[in-house]
Symmetry: C2
Amino acid sequence: MNDSSPLRVLGIDPGSRLCGFGVVDETRGGMTHIECGGIAPPARADLGRRLSFIYDEVTRLIAEFQPAVAAFEQVIYAQNVKSALVLGQARGAALLAVTHAGLPMHEYTPTQIKKAVTGYGRADKNQVAMMIQSLLNLPEPAMADASDALAAAVCHLSSYRYLAQTTEAP
Amino acid sequence: MNDSSPLRVLGIDPGSRLCGFGVVDETRGGMTHIECGGIAPPARADLGRRLSFIYDEVTRLIAEFQPAVAAFEQVIYAQNVKSALVLGQARGAALLAVTHAGLPMHEYTPTQIKKAVTGYGRADKNQVAMMIQSLLNLPEPAMADASDALAAAVCHLSSYRYLAQTTEAP
């Protein structure tokens, strides 16, 4: 990649019902929102079909937007063991699509993401959503899952920018 | 499928470190053990590679043994949310391989499996392993994960046999 080509990140936030995604570019001027939304597998389909739906949609997003890397939030918390299992299965399908597409994958803890986006590791969901709207010049706040996915992408770009700064020749 | 061709089931028991599998045929005479073992993704590989490993191995098993159907134990219990997430991700990878191979997938609760194998829904793991060894004429007990996968396959065949009996013309 030469200096002028943007670094494009696909942020993914798999939930038990909806899998949020967000595509963000970093250019010299800052970060640019490209796309965001949610992948909603048909609720009445069987488990295999729902996982397949997530896998296919993530594969399609990668083909369409050609990101250089994917960023996931590390799941630390779930309501209970049952919802953690459902979440894990959805996450497995999304991770597999990313791996099969040959994309490098990075995980960030919720605290890392909140800190990168708001400067404060214990910010609440609304504060993160407002900062994402402001940072990416969105006309309105993104819906929750998409906002979290954008936040993961922004976190990756912040870490990347920090690394690039610290490894630059003096 | 005609009456004389065996029904072949692939049982899968995804664990956080090892994913057990077992292949069982039903013929008119009873059930026959074809193969069993464990899929062990490289422990030091990153998450994407580990999930990919499970997906590839399940895909390979289906190509090699050509089962007609896959049977999974429904996970009800996990030590905690963290291990449920890890388990869910592994399960998602195995389920996706089954779905991508076009195999119908059935899930059974631990109680259904124990009851089908031992006649008692609250049997312990050792009792299940001993019954599996006896039912399938294994020279020695299968290792835990493989035994659980064989038990899921046996449970499916028992349900199938029961259904076949109850829907047969008088």
